[in-house]
């Protein structure tokens, strides 16, 4: 503290300039630490994307994505393809989305439009938050105990497990979006004599559709990469199984898991190629979600 404002007698010294010395150093140090934290998290992200793209790109081809059957792990990359796994992932994730999104949107509608501040609605909102924290492997065990033990392995069982994971996410995002729709829209529709169901379906949901669609797409993107819930619900097979309702199936994620620990070069390449396909799928969904958010969101926080 070199020069300070000249205080009158008995008054404390007041320094109105930028903080100097130790306080300033500490502040700058804290700022550097915060930026460093961001850079530290970037490192694994960049490394994993770099490795997956570099190793996956050399494995991926049209034959790899559509060909089949999936060869035994000792065989080199050129044989067969991951077509059955690509089809399995699309089938199972698609069916899960068909189940979870309508139910999740309806659940969100109940929480915001019908339940309001009732104890049941508050309990269900709280529980759907809690349910997002249930480990995915528990969902796999759950479907195994209530479905597989009675009906055997099938793609639809995997879809049930993924739907259980997606449901609370869709409910939460729908609920959050509906809360943003202004009440004046509802009141205007009621004044025209519409029923509550009609108001909800034709006025409230369309007003919130951007957020609901992007929230649902994010849930689908997360579910598409899930492995643990599929391990004991669909098993793995080598040939394409288009019948989702019966017989074991396979998916990209479970194929990566199986091939990751295999010592053969061909299997490793297939794992990297599948990883690239899976990440590309998830990223496409995320990008669509972002575009939808940007273009169709009317009400934001």
């Amino acid at each position: 503290m070199a020069a300070t404002a000249n205080p009158g007698p008995g008054q404390p010294t007041v320094d109105l300039r930028e903080p100097a010395g130790w306080r300033r150093t500490k502040n700058q140090f804290a700022t550097i630490v915060m930026w460093a934290a961001f850079v530290i998290t970037l490192i694994p992200l960049v490394l994993v994307l770099y490795t997956v793209i570099q190793k996956g790109a050399s494995a991926i081809s049209w034959q790899f994505l559509t060909g089949g059957p999936i060869p035994p792990n000792v065989l080199p990359l050129g044989v067969g393809g991951m077509g059955p796994a690509v089809i399995g992932t699309l089938e199972i994730t698609g069916l899960a989305a068909l189940m979870a999104i309508p139910l999740g949107v309806l659940g969100g509608v109940y929480l915001n439009e019908y339940g309001g501040t009732s104890w049941l609605a508050q309990l269900l909102a709280f529980l759907s938050d809690v349910m997002t924290g249930v480990p995915s492997i528990v969902m796999g065990l759950f479907i195994f105990t209530i479905w597989i033990l009675h009906f055997g392995y099938s793609g639809v069982a995997g879809a049930f497990a993924l739907a259980c994971l997606m449901l609370p996410i869709v409910i939460r995002s729908t609920f959050e979006m509906l809360r943003l729709v202004p009440d004046s829209l509802r009141q205007g529709s009621y004044a025209l004599g519409a029923t509550k169901a009609r108001v909800t379906v034709t006025v409230v949901l369309p007003a919130a559709i951007g957020g609901i669609v992007s929230g649902s797409l994010l849930a689908v993107a997360r579910a598409a990469g899930e492995t643990a819930p599929l391990l004991f619900t669909i098993l793995t097979v080598e040939a394409t199984n288009t019948n989702i309702f019966s017989g074991a199936n396979t998916a990209l994620s479970t194929q990566i898991f199986v091939n990751a620990t295999s010592p053969y070069v061909g299997a490793e390449s297939r794992a990297w190629g599948s990883a690239l396909a899976l990440i590309a799928m998830a990223f496409i969904l995320i990008i669509i979600a972002r575009v939808v958010t940007a273009r169709f969101t009317r009400y934001t926080r």
Partner: protein, 328 residues
């Protein structure tokens, strides 16, 4: 709830008392459908508890408390002690939290109080990408890239340097393995960083601007403002975020299964291979039947119970701190 739902004019046209008639069938059906969909969450949670408890009873009855809480895991001889998996789950989650929490809170503060709004959104997108990379891809990268690198270039040196040093030698000394508790903890830390960051950020963003401005007006630096105005307000909510991250770390399966080393042991060596509950379920469920399968499902039930409790407590803390904030 009918107070704001008037009659449908199309249907009430012929009625003597247009405003007093019953609500149309479609309207009531829709309400019931919505209620059923909402109740589904409750139903699924109850079914998970009931069905897994039912399937794990043969483990509880044959092994007994002493069998369950032993460290002896030997499926070939029907010994199903779960303690080494519980130990591994706790150790890896603690390592993950220890790494992820300081980083996540620092990023949350960076987003709320350092960078401008224009730059915070791209940073959020980038952090969220960590959550988009599937668990199995982290595991694949972990086992094929990270594990060999850590083993050859990092752990070996650490082991040699710390060999014989008290405490640290016990934690990080030789023998070292790339696939280990610590490696699993690092991977889990990467995976839980996005959720802790986004929840912390939501909490920190609720700190009233007037408190921050007050701190600045008193001449505080930004760091002093964070310590004096932001932190006291958001402590509770950040604790909730940390607990939710802990729940995620405990239940994370595939990545842990690939890099943890798959060895049912209890040891103080963090650089030695271990096992965790979700990892053992993922790796061994396929070949399990009878009491073996029952034991694995039982551990799944335990995992379910623990994560439910952790999430209940965490959400409670977050809600309470949010309510206090609104009241303040």
């Amino acid at each position: 709830m009918n107070t704001v739902a008037p009659a449908d004019p199309a249907q009430s046209a012929g009625s003597a008392h247009p405003l007093a008639h019953r609500r149309p069938l479609g309207d009531r059906t829709f309400q019931i459908l919505a209620l059923v969909a909402g109740l589904l969450v409750l139903v699924i949670l109850i079914l998970i508890a009931v069905s897994t408890a039912q399937q794990s009873t043969s483990w509880f009855t044959t092994a007994g408390a002493s069998g369950i809480f032993s460290i002896d895991w030997d499926p070939a001889n029907n010994h199903f002690g779960a303690m080494s998996f519980v130990f591994g789950t706790v150790i890896t989650s603690v390592i993950a939290i220890a790494i992820a929490v300081p980083v996540s809170v620092a990023i949350a503060l960076l987003l709320t109080d350092v960078v401008s709004r224009r730059w915070s959104q791209p940073i959020v997108y980038v952090i969220d990408l960590l959550a988009v990379v599937p668990s199995v891809v982290w595991g694949l990268w972990g086992i094929l890239v990270l594990v060999p690198w850590l083993q050859n270039s990092i752990y070996g040196h650490i082991g040699n340097v710390l060999n014989g040093v008290p405490v640290l030698g016990n934690l990080f000394g030789p023998p070292v393995s790339g696939a280990a508790f610590f490696t699993a903890g690092v991977i889990l830390a990467i995976m839980i960083t996005p959720i802790i960051t986004s929840l912390s950020r939501e909490v920190i963003a609720t700190v009233p601007a007037i408190d921050k401005e007050g701190a600045y007006a008193l001449g505080a630096t930004r760091w002093e403002m964070i310590r004096g105005a932001v932190w006291p307000h958001s402590q509770g909510g950040v604790l909730g975020a940390v607990l939710i991250g802990l729940g995620r770390a405990m239940g994370e399966t595939i990545a842990a299964a690939l890099v943890i080393g798959s060895s049912a042991t209890i040891t103080s060596h963090l650089l030695a291979p271990g096992y965790s509950i979700p990892a053992v379920i993922a790796n061994q469920f396929g070949e399990a039947s009878g009491v073996f399968r029952s034991a694995l499902i039982g551990m799944g039930l335990f995992l379910f119970a623990i994560t439910i409790i952790v999430n209940l407590v965490a959400r409670g803390i977050v809600e309470r701190s949010a309510r206090r904030m609104r009241g303040a």
